[in-house]
Symmetry: C2
Subunit: 260 residues, 2 copies
């Protein structure tokens, strides 16, 4: 059992220092609330809508940007998961770094890019099963559009993930509330896991974001949820034993046929 | 484009004649409403809660029970999908027969059995991809618990199904509304297909059913929905072109990685 926090924030496109400062503030609040882990949105460090600046700002995991994130995590003795553009030679990935309590940063690279904007900026990674152990629990990592594919969450659940952490940048639009609320809850329920979905709010020059961040429980209920516009911190307790009743009735992972 | 109907009914456990009569009434209403297809619940012909009588009542697809269903379909010039216990030698499957406009009956056998009750009565079939062409559209078939596994719906959508028809027997309980409403809508949305979920209502000696049958659209909206208790017929138009906007924005089948 541990408490986790999720920051729904308005990133400043292209301003890494400002975004690190916002995350540092959330990290302080996270520690003060007795939580051990903070989840920030997709590309939180540069802003999602930074456009061409993203390629210039991209850094390897051992660069200054993730170094600064590690320093914030160390200062508050918590773990942090935050999205950033990762440079790997000539390639740029849409990645998220988990830093703070597991030695070197663990990096997850987004496998399912959405739309022309992302495909122009990033290379897609092969679907992978990155799981981090933290506070005695197994956390799987995905980014945004990845979580909309049930196969990606299932792969992590089959590998033992008890919660999946999802930095995201879901734009406002016709289907945003359906995705952020109904689909995220179903992803949790159909695997009987927790799911933390950390979105941006506000707007930059290119996009308006949907907010609606949430932390969903294995029974499909919402443990904590933000509205569409607030810059805020959500906190919830991740305790699988509190949902043993739901797990006993909804035995998807046990009943799933090997052929699937 | 075609109109389909879905009957939410209170089956009489063990009384095939009574259940055929109820389906005949629904078939008449279906034809009168200008619909071309009627979907009835899981094991609609015997009742889901018929217990030990199910093995005695089970028949092959060319038996009298499906013959009577074919006669009803022919009389009203519609297709009918209804659940029945299928005998195949010494084996009994939890099956559904699609009769009426495609020559011989097409049978789908449930692959994912739920709980001790079903496992005592039926053999599970291998997951399959049964698709029926009707009125120029491709309809995939599943039964009840099968649809709760995203893999089963995905398999049909990848094979070209534009709608999935699901006879079900969802009992009332803590998670029934979540499954019947939220999960069914997400299964439709994540594949951009229609989904018709036909449940029982009322109770028999063994179970109380949740009702809440619905026909979901590709954009996750509910085209028609029943409450928890009413014995009723739902009707909706299946017109993929009416949801081209949703399909253009939510390109899951196109974006899904081959590795998945």
């Amino acid at each position: 059992m541990t408490r986790i926090a999720l920051v729904q924030m308005q990133a400043k496109a292209g301003d890494v220092s400002a975004n690190l400062a916002r995350i540092a503030g959330a990290a302080r609040q996270t520690a003060e609330a007795g939580a051990s882990l903070l989840v920030a949105p997709e590309l939180a460090l540069t802003g999602y809508g930074a456009g061409d600046a993203i390629a210039r700002l991209a850094e390897p995991t051992d660069g200054a940007m993730i170094g600064a994130l590690e320093a914030i995590a160390a200062q508050h003795d918590i773990a942090i998961l935050a999205g950033f553009p990762e440079r790997a030679g000539a390639t740029v990935y849409n990645s998220a770094a988990f830093v703070g309590t597991v030695g070197h940063a663990t990096v997850y690279r987004k496998s399912h890019l959405y739309g022309d904007y992302e495909r122009a900026l990033f290379a897609p990674a092969r679907p992978s099963g990155v799981i981090v152990e933290h506070a005695g629990l197994k956390f799987g990592l995905l980014i945004c559009y990845d979580v909309e594919f049930p196969e990606n969450v299932r792969r992590l659940a089959k590998a033992g993930a008890q919660a999946v952490l999802v930095p995201t940048a879901l734009p406002a639009g016709d289907h945003a509330a359906f995705i952020a609320r109904q689909m995220i809850a179903v992803r949790a329920f159909e695997n009987q896991i927790f799911l933390a979905y950390a979105n941006h709010c506000g707007a930059d020059a290119l996009f308006t974001y949907a907010g609606l961040s949430q932390i969903a429980a294995p029974d499909g209920t919402m443990l904590a949820g933000a509205d569409a516009v607030e810059d805020t911190l959500l906190i919830a307790t991740i305790d699988p034993s509190a949902f043993a009743g739901s797990a006993a009735q909804n035995t998807y992972l046990r009943d799933m046929r090997d052929e699937l």
